[in-house]
Subunit: 417 residues, 3 copies
Amino acid sequence: MKQIIVGMAVGLGLWWSGGALAQEEIVRYTITSVAENRMTEEVSLSSADITPASAPWTLVKETLHGGKQEGVEIITLDNGVLQIVVVPTRGMSIFQVTKGDVRLGWDSPVKELVHPQFIDLESRGGLGWLEGFNEWMVRCGLEFAGHPGRDQFTTNTGDTAEMDLTLHGKIGNIPASEVEVLVERNAPYRITIRGVVHERLFFGPKLGLVTEVSTEPGSDTFRIHDEVTNHGASDQEFQLIYHGNFGAPLLEAGAEFVTAARQIMPMNAHAAKGLSEYRHYKGPTPGFIEEVYLMEPWSDKNGQCGALLKNRAATRAASVHWNIAELPYLALWKNTVAEADGYVTGIEPAMSYPFNRRVERAFGRVPKLAPGETRSFTLDFGIHEGKEAVEKAEWRIEKIRDGRETTVIETPPELPE
Amino acid sequence: MKQIIVGMAVGLGLWWSGGALAQEEIVRYTITSVAENRMTEEVSLSSADITPASAPWTLVKETLHGGKQEGVEIITLDNGVLQIVVVPTRGMSIFQVTKGDVRLGWDSPVKELVHPQFIDLESRGGLGWLEGFNEWMVRCGLEFAGHPGRDQFTTNTGDTAEMDLTLHGKIGNIPASEVEVLVERNAPYRITIRGVVHERLFFGPKLGLVTEVSTEPGSDTFRIHDEVTNHGASDQEFQLIYHGNFGAPLLEAGAEFVTAARQIMPMNAHAAKGLSEYRHYKGPTPGFIEEVYLMEPWSDKNGQCGALLKNRAATRAASVHWNIAELPYLALWKNTVAEADGYVTGIEPAMSYPFNRRVERAFGRVPKLAPGETRSFTLDFGIHEGKEAVEKAEWRIEKIRDGRETTVIETPPELPE
Amino acid sequence: MKQIIVGMAVGLGLWWSGGALAQEEIVRYTITSVAENRMTEEVSLSSADITPASAPWTLVKETLHGGKQEGVEIITLDNGVLQIVVVPTRGMSIFQVTKGDVRLGWDSPVKELVHPQFIDLESRGGLGWLEGFNEWMVRCGLEFAGHPGRDQFTTNTGDTAEMDLTLHGKIGNIPASEVEVLVERNAPYRITIRGVVHERLFFGPKLGLVTEVSTEPGSDTFRIHDEVTNHGASDQEFQLIYHGNFGAPLLEAGAEFVTAARQIMPMNAHAAKGLSEYRHYKGPTPGFIEEVYLMEPWSDKNGQCGALLKNRAATRAASVHWNIAELPYLALWKNTVAEADGYVTGIEPAMSYPFNRRVERAFGRVPKLAPGETRSFTLDFGIHEGKEAVEKAEWRIEKIRDGRETTVIETPPELPE
């Protein structure tokens, strides 16, 4: 068996670290590595090679072709139940996760996984990010994560100057520098896709993201575990929003959003009008104008908070749980426009709200990382099928609420000049 | 024969759709396809394989290397008389068309077919398009097609905001998502290069261009047939200019432009000074400042209008004919600068004039496409050699004029604020 | 031997020009060529193939992979003493030069050789260049070379308009169009890496850079010889700064900068405070604000001037010499920040100071090239090891000074509005 793995791995241009393979508890495959000057065009792994005692799983890495997706790399991990598609070329975003005919993902009018070479974030007054927006899970950040517009920064002469931030930051359009797959050789045989993405410049932030997407063979849950580190020598502001986007089949007329919020407020006057109905979704509605609701979640004694989207019949749902200390805010983005324009809702655990960083800073929601400091973020996702499973997932959130009320602020926040 | 085609096609990574080959009337080769995740580096087809009864022709697809052209794909169709070079990587622009030593094309100071990865349309205050400008036929559009500068757009909140348009729009720097070759197996054995180019973003236009360049074996004419569709759910403004550019050998001192114009006016005060000589060209003139003339063509009972450029001796000409209902305007761009700076004239059938969209909108020249609506554009080009052929081509335009006068407006239009 | 070279060269996709090889005095290998539509992924040459009588040398061309360095080409020339790494993809910048454990180079927080496809020079208000800044020697230019900000340019209508210049210009992020290696078959067997980089656009500058980096087998010196040509038909402003950057091991606490300056002044009020200590370096200092000193060097009767950086113990140094008529100015950039932020000093022979071109023009420091005019620039570099060699290198600069004084201007220049 060992020889077969070796043969396969070398044949595929894969490598593993460490010594005697049989004694390793974790097998590690390098797919892309700046450190090793390596990029593997195609990779194909399976349970038979590494974890024969586990449920069957496969991992395939491919390169996309044609149009704006030319050269984009994707990794598809099929754990036997879930198919998770990670996009190393686009900052380790997750294109979609499917379980049978349930999908975490949506139908964006942007039809290709766009290579960053074709994205100009400065386009349209800082809205260029929208030309590549179609993944299920996109991180917004790391230097800035919210709306475009003027904000201050510190120049090379130590002075304060102004620059135009671009929508949702850069991290989603930076290719990963290191990509590897880690497989536990013993039960529960956890499989992890790990990527390292650098958002660095001279006279600017030196931020690093180490992201892990992992699951177990046969499981209907998976985890995102991220670490953000300040590699610079000065304190560094940073922002992070987990912009998770859902369309059909979970989103539909009558679909419902569930969370346990300590407080909710509309992001602007338009959203204020829809506040009483914020939990409920319309079907595709041509001309619908987006509504955003800003929440502070309740958490349980372990700091866990959660949110859930279920279909009208309450037979299918997707849930996310995370720690309030890591991501204290939650934005709900309702954009139930016509299907052709991108019928979608965003459930967005975050370190701040999606206003421009200037606004977030004024409200004290832009933390700093000390030199060398790392912050971790863990999000657990589940796909729930059947009325019973959906009820159980809802019940978990009700337990977090534990009977506590939601303070509803009916007017949007007054923004600083 | 069938097996040979199969062998060749598979060996080249080509595929065709449909069933029994012998019964197909059109053979279809996919070169690039997002839908099929395919990009073929090199392709070589010829008449012997598909249309042995026709005049000989060849089609070759190559990838360019070095400098800013690294990775640019070109397709050269030689119908036995014309060599047509299409550039899928640059929005299906046509680099040049040659017939013997006559050329539709010019010598731009930009010497490489520049890959869009090296173009920043926002550069130089919205003039970055000029860093890749060297093709014979470039489409300007689709969201906007004219001069750079501020204009309004509708934001994601439904509000009207302002953005900076960039010169001549994006479509010429978007790689085609689908590229295929269609060959009729029966006379006249028409050969078509078809491309699909998407200009799409979230919270913005969802416009699609399907473009066909086609000719027949042995012919000295060819056709561009384009369709532009609004794939969004709301009405969508769009613009389209066919920016056809000619240098030597047709353009020279004493060369002449011929059309049948109902009305002509200069684009600015500088052009007004040269109005009386608008039909005639100077030789390369260092320091020459461009002159642009704006025309509404006359059309015949079928709606056909036309224009022509002939050399001094009237022994060579190129002509274009199109339908006035599709492209009601014609701009003539005279830029007879020194050869080193790009000695060129542009003959530009268009949906509008090349002012900023803000201006064109004010004059009512920016149409909208309803959701799902498609508009078609057909342009027929000919290369004419010999005095007799040139006279015949001129006579065709005189027949369109049919004795009608040209209204000459001697001052440029007053532009809105 | 001839056949072996032929076989190897063809096998590697290399070609040489000219006729009978045995009679050629210079063997020429084309690595990349737009003219020949060629790009060779991997190249490996050595003395045994071409110059068996010389000291051993090797030349290897590789392509980098992963993250933002995907697709970047580098050429490493090892002359037996020096290892010189040239980056054709980034305007023929020189990543580093090493001799044993001495290095011309530095540790930038930007860790990858960034492909231009990932650079947006317009980013951060014109500071996007900093996202790729990590080479030892980067040319700034050619249309503009200094600080970002508004300046005038001439539009296509001959009018004067304004555009935002971006930091340090474009040339360092343009891939070379032609790259070749030239090897002399006779002593001293000089080996040259030649690149051609075009900075061209329609309605804009048509500037060309031909750069040669050359050394001899066994030597501890090397030369940069550049030619800049105006390929346009009008006079053309241009700028050029040789931004040479040094970190450890030469730069350290107590390291010293040596030159023979006719005049020195601080670039701004902050630098003025450190003027008396401008020659001496601090160790890595968190929070250090950059200091820039502007000098006019003394030159000897041949026009040669020089500068040198030596370590604290004066046991290691790097020197540069050039002709005052070619590069009349020298900027010293002290940026002794923390190692994590990029501990570095720049020694920058130049045609002007690094102010915005608007400022440089006002001071008469922006020359023009006439149509077809070429200017040449030659810089000779040495790495000196051992107290004696360092003293000798210092003595060479003292001889240039020849006892002449340095005029110290204690306040920064007053800049034009």
